[in-house]
Amino acid sequence: MTAARSVFVVTDIRPLRRGIFSVTFDAPELAVSAEPGQFVHIKCGRSRPLRRPFGISDASGDKLTVVFEVRGEGTKWLAASEPGRRVDINGPLGHGFSSVVGDILIAGGGLGAAPMLFAARRARGRAVAVLGFRGAASAILTEEFESACENIFVTTDDGSLGLRGTASLPLGELLKTGRYSAVLACGPRAMLRAVAELSERAGVRCEVSLEERMGCGVGACLVCACRTKKDGADKMSRVCFDGPVFDSREVVW
């Protein structure tokens, strides 16, 4: 029923890029049950009334890690953490990717690459990752993906790192091989839509991790709505509870 404990200690915090941080907590209760695609809901100090959702970018042993960009007061507070700080965390929350087994393609766009690292690690070397960034200066976690995956492809909008263009380019080519059983993706909505269309055209199952402003994070308040369809009928799903990961065929783009 009630979580045994909701306050966890920061063990490590480091900047990945300007304004982007990776923070690790000593949180065995959270790490043990965390699944790729799930998130944690963090109380970022007392001054903000609501918690902030963060996709889990790794969970192993006693440690749980999230990667985030400083966007406002809450994330600024979290970025100012030092090892030893006690942080109130609710989670792991939501429904993650249904399966990370077999030959899978992982697509991550921008900051959306971070939670995909958790999926890549759980795929135990059988995943191929396609990561898209604005430019070399905003690329994150590429070394970690390289060691976790069978192969990785990086694209940047300006060509400053890897291939010039969007993640769709290498993804389309990889899908043509017919080797992959699923595509798992997290990133900007336009990218997810493109990934979903490519996958559907190739007849490959695709799961996308969506984002929406959240209130409660547990499915009660209905503010993080996204339109979905199932069996021909439209409905409003809750990103925090029904998602954040959805079968791409159910999303109404």
Binding site: A3, N90, G217, V223, D234
Partner: protein, 304 residues
């Protein structure tokens, strides 16, 4: 000392004065993973309508200083689905079930009241104050004559006590409170959210797809206390007071202003156990100040 937290409210006995506010607690399923709903005085359902509603397009929420705006727009599965799948779940707990209803017409309000009172809810909260729907909602809550008309029809068709949830978006809360009392309401609850708006200055677009939304959270608490106090002075009906309560101290303040029950809403979003800490905080206050029964606090503010 032992304290008595029971409250008899419009003839219904509540084991403690804490009720979760409509729209912040679903039908209790989500928060029942954090604590047993039997710990609560009551649970108030998400607003129910005759037919299922998808609600408003996202984004539906914007955080504000110590509060939040929402424009959910009464997303719910419809009254029949509620009776079939949600009510039996809620009935599995030893807590009072208050069904919140919203009609697009007076006849819909009456139909909802009749159906739900026959299905076994303990009380009906008549939502004439939702700021996020085009038809119905607040439109019925801002004039005394429409509050009177909705009260009259729902009272006539309901077999259980009815409570009018009043809108703060009025000039004089006493007027709408009296209108409810005049047509036989058994109780009133207040307040619903305050109509608000935020704008993104980079894009010059509102932060909510519905443009405006309802403000809740600690930011609105003083307004709610004032309105409960004013309503208490205007009518003899028992009052469920809510709006920004997040601690036991807040709840005691609301009781002193004139409430008999208190609602906890937005506070649950940041602390899933907020309603229970409010309940425990009230009891702690009672012990500290030698208050034997929680009802002794209602309306006991000593006005200057």
């Amino acid at each position: 000392m032992s304290v008595d937290t029971r409250v008899t409210f419009a003839g219904v006995e509540f084991k403690n004065p804490v009720v979760t506010a409509s729209g912040t607690f679903g039908f209790g399923r989500e928060y029942s993973k954090y604590y047993s709903l039997s710990e609560l005085g009551g649970v108030c359902t998400k607003g129910l309508t005759v037919r299922a509603r998808l609600g408003n397009p996202p984004p539906r929420m914007a955080e504000t200083p110590m509060g939040m705006l929402n424009s959910v727009g009464l997303q719910n599965p419809g009254v029949d689905e509620f009776i079939k799948t949600e009510l039996p779940f809620m009935r599995g707990f030893d807590t009072r079930v208050i069904a919140n209803i919203a009609g697009e017409t007076i006849e819909e309000y009456a139909e909802l009241a009749e159906k739900l009172s026959g299905a076994g809810v303990d009380m009906i909260e008549v939502n004439v104050s939702c700021p996020n729907v085009k038809a119905g909602g607040m439109q019925f809550g801002v004039t005394a004559s429409s509050v009177a008309a909705v009260t009259r029809e729902t009272r006539r068709r309901s077999r259980v006590p009815i409570m009018l949830k009043l809108s703060p978006n009025v000039t004089d809360i006493a007027e709408t409170a009296r209108a409810a009392e005049g047509e036989g309401a058994d109780a009133i609850s207040l307040m619903n959210t305050l109509l608000g708006m935020r704008i993104d200055i980079k894009t010059r677009r509102p932060l909510l797809a519905n443009n405006t939304g309802g403000l809740s959270g600690a930011a609105v608490f003083p307004v709610a206390v004032r309105m409960v106090w004013q309503a208490r002075g205007a009518v003899k009906l028992p009052i469920l007071g809510m709006g920004g309560i997040s601690t036991g101290e807040d709840a005691v303040e609301m009781l002193l202003a004139g409430a008999s029950l208190v609602g906890v809403g937005t506070a649950s979003f940041s602390r899933p156990g907020a309603a229970l800490s409010v309940r425990d905080g009230i009891a702690a206050y009672m012990r500290e100040y030698g208050v034997g029964s929680v009802s002794e606090l209602t309306g006991k503010v000593e006005i200057f």
